[in-house]
């Protein structure tokens, strides 16, 4: 409890620091420490990390490849948000040519194009990079589930297994957990293999969307206020 609070206080300070000094080179060491904090405490701040990349961009001689690499892994974990691209826009091309960054760019490419099978293969080959950041696997699984939920009403078990890289008994356990906590439903699938019914949303049930189109925004109503008065 005590430690937890301490962390919150510190987090507050760094965010505050960025807000007050968005263009101050003196906060660079604080921001670097903050990246390491985010890694160990499984928190994330895009604006602080972009601020650091900006300072590196202004003074390339102060750049630390290790920190950049951690920022990029964290950005991958923020998928589906476009954070990884946002970071790359700020990293000079010659730096992106370094081997570890090339690997991360390939990983991002697989995620961006829904090729989870290739992603997990490649990630397994680059354990040293991704395993340095706790929570990596879970974050990517969450992204995979997000994309599946946009796409499928009912997803075949093998497709799901491939996307989240969980199989057999572990997958059964995982599904059990999702059934209880996230409203997933298991469907026998007429003998052609198990299907998983993902919770409905307006993207996999487009008919749910229609309601919003029928509402009238308040600003439009205000136009007739003078008349009603």
């Amino acid at each position: 409890m005590g430690r937890e609070r301490e962390r919150e206080v510190q987090q507050y300070t760094v965010e505050q620091l960025v807000a007050v000094n968005p263009y101050n080179p003196d906060i660079l060491p604080d921001l670097e420490n903050y990246v390491n904090d985010q890694v160990s405490s499984q928190t994330y701040s895009l604006s602080a990390n972009l601020c650091l990349l900006r300072l590196y961009q202004f003074e390339p001689e102060r750049m630390s490849s290790q920190i950049v690499s951690r920022i990029l892994v964290k950005a991958l974990m923020a998928m589906p948000a476009p954070d990884f691209s946002l970071c790359l826009f700020l990293i000079p091309e010659r730096v992106q040519m370094e081997e570890q960054f090339k690997t991360l760019i390939v990983l991002s490419h697989y995620l961006e194009t829904g090729r989870f099978h290739q992603f997990w293969d490649e990630a397994a080959k680059s354990r040293h990079i991704v395993e340095a950041v706790p929570g990596f696997e879970q974050a990517i699984q969450a992204y995979a589930i997000h994309v599946l939920s946009l796409t499928y009403q009912k997803v075949p078990r093998p497709v799901l297994a491939e996307a989240i890289n969980i199989e057999g008994l572990s997958l059964d356990k995982f599904l059990e957990h999702q059934v209880v906590n996230s409203g997933w439903v298991l469907d026998k699938g007429n003998g052609r293999g198990q299907l998983i019914v993902l919770p409905p949303n307006e993207f996999n049930h487009p008919e749910l969307k229609k309601n919003t189109a029928d509402t009238v925004p308040f600003e439009h109503i205000t136009r007739i206020f003078p008349i009603m008065g």
């Binding site: 101050n24 790359l88 700020l90 490419h109 829904g114 946009l150 796409t151 009403q153 993207f203 009238v216």
Partner: protein, 523 residues
């Protein structure tokens, strides 16, 4: 209207004897023609009397006329030669120098020394403003131009500095000596300081509660105060958006613009240059963030606005700039609509202009072959901001040019994104003609295997659904579909008719008609 005239004595009349500098420069920087004397004296008086209307006339019209007539390819007279006509007024001299440099940048090419001097002048000017000793009322146009020119000269300096190959030893020595000139921290911090010191964010906040009249008064102060700091702070937010876009930092750029509600008219729309700069960069940043619908909406609005109002700007010194940005935004709109074909978001007028300019190219862009990529490349390169590398060069190593580096990186990453989306165009074509289709059949049509098709469909969903910071999902999709096991179901996307909006418009219209009727007196 101004009663004085700018008629000059003929050029061969008693000009002062050429000084030495005259010989070297080919003109005499200390010769002040009568018309310039009159210009300075009157402008100075109008500023002291806070006559915004006259200041604006002189600034927009007289300055241009004089430049066109007397200083086509030479600079204006030096500030030292003019100062004694205006009581050596410190602030006026800073303003005069700001215009002097702006004219120089526009018509001649500034030397490194002049670039550095202009930086110094901006520092002095902004410091005076920031320390609150300015008691003037200046036209929005001028204040916008200051911010705009400040950012432009910064960009120009970065481009100039990055061309290291043909620098003389003297230039390199100057660059080393004045390493603070146009330093990126300095530039950003001045803009940021103007935003903060002006309290503009708080003012805009309070305005929502009716406690401020900033927008209603177009930023002017009618209680005897000065509008300079407030409006400079306001425009600096647009300036920051632009600088961040030049640096490739789109997220931060959009954040800087956040206090301005661009869905509404505001002080930023009171000056066409600021309106265009704000929307051009806003749209570009959204394009890079894959929020195509947002980019299309705003490009559409401003292109329609420019189309309707173009004729009023024909005489403006910004006219050429307006036309150029207009063309660039059509190119960006062509890119957006190729990646996200939602033509229904675009007004008929804008659409027909777009077809005229890019119709043929847009058809080829759908093909996703090498030629299509070449067109994406061409349009992006033509329409993107002039990206900069903000860091100083290393003077030790062999001197290399790096002025293209930033642009090449942004282009490469953009084309990378286009490639990731290359198969989506094909899938769209099929989904539009089926209401249900099995994965196997579609895979067959698209000549890919089924697992690949699944990845393409997921890519489509991912790329067309933007997720913002709070986890809110916004759909940019032009086709709605879902997969049930191995069948794709496509929902016909009917354009959502906004009956509510339509009715409300009619209510207002009817009220207008009734009012008109009431006004008619029947004899």
């Amino acid at each position: 209207m101004a009663s004085f005239d700018y008629e000059d004595a003929p050029a061969n009349s008693a000009a002062p004897a050429s000084s030495q500098s005259h010989e070297v420069l080919g003109y005499d920087p200390n010769f002040v023609p009568d018309s310039v004397k009159s210009f300075a004296v009157h402008l100075y008086r109008h500023i002291r009397e806070k006559n915004v209307y006259e200041i604006h006339q002189m600034y927009e019209t007289s300055f241009q006329t004089l430049s066109e007539r007397l200083f086509k390819d030479t600079p204006w007279p030096s500030v030292d030669a003019v100062a004694h006509y205006v009581d050596n007024d410190h602030v006026f001299c800073l303003l005069y120098r700001e215009m002097w440099f702006r004219h120089l940048y526009a018509r001649l090419s500034p030397t490194l020394k002049q670039r550095i001097d202009s930086w110094d002048n901006y520092c002095s000017l902004f410091q005076v403003v920031l320390h609150g000793v300015v008691n003037m009322q200046l036209p929005n146009q001028w204040l916008w131009d200051m911010v705009d020119e400040f950012v432009y000269q910064f960009q120009s300096f970065c481009q100039y500095r990055a061309k290291m190959k043909n620098k003389t030893d003297q230039e390199i020595a100057l660059l080393r000596e004045y390493d603070q000139a146009w330093n990126v921290y300095g530039v950003l911090n001045y803009l940021q300081a103007l935003v903060e010191k002006s309290m503009i964010i708080q003012i805009l906040e309070q305005e929502k509660e009716g406690l401020e009249q900033f927008t209603a008064n177009d930023g002017y102060d009618y209680d005897g105060g000065s509008n300079v700091l407030k409006v400079l702070g306001y425009f600096s937010m647009v300036g920051l958006l632009r600088v961040h876009c030049l640096l490739g930092d789109y997220h931060t750029g959009l954040k800087c613009l956040l206090p301005i509600d661009i869905s509404q008219q505001g002080v930023y729309t009171s000056v066409i240059g600021s309106h265009i700069t704000a929307i051009y960069h806003y749209g570009f940043a959204n394009l890079m963030l894959r929020r195509y619908v947002e980019a299309i909406r705003e490009f559409n609005k401003i292109l329609l606005y420019i189309y309707k109002t173009k004729q009023y700007h024909q005489k403006s010194p910004q006219y050429e700039q307006i036309l150029k940005k207009n063309e660039q935004m059509y190119a960006l709109l062509a890119i957006c609509l190729s990646l996200c074909p939602q033509v229904k978001l675009v007004d008929e007028t804008v659409n027909s202009q777009l077809r005229e300019k890019y119709g043929e190219k847009m058809i080829r862009m759908q093909r996703y072959d090498d030629e299509a990529f070449a067109i994406y490349d061409e349009l992006f390169s033509y329409a993107c901001p002039k990206f900069i590398t903000p860091s100083a060069p290393s003077f030790e190593e062999p001197l290399v040019n790096y002025n293209q580096d930033a642009y090449r990186l942004q282009l490469k990453l953009f084309l990378y994104e286009v490639k990731q989306q290359q198969l989506l165009s094909g899938v769209r074509t099929f989904l539009k003609v089926y209401s249900t289709i099995s994965l196997g059949k579609l895979a067959n049509y698209m000549e890919v295997d089924e697992p690949t098709l699944r990845t393409i469909l997921m890519t489509y969903k991912h790329k067309t659904h933007a997720v913002d910071g709070d986890g809110k999902i916004t759909s940019n999709a032009d086709v709605d579909f879902y997969i049930d096991d191995d069948t794709i179901h496509v929902m016909e996307s009917k354009p959502a008719k906004r009956y509510g909006d339509y009715f409300l418009r009619q209510v207002v219209k009817l009220e207008g008609v009734i009012n008109d009727l009431d006004r008619i007196k029947l004899d």
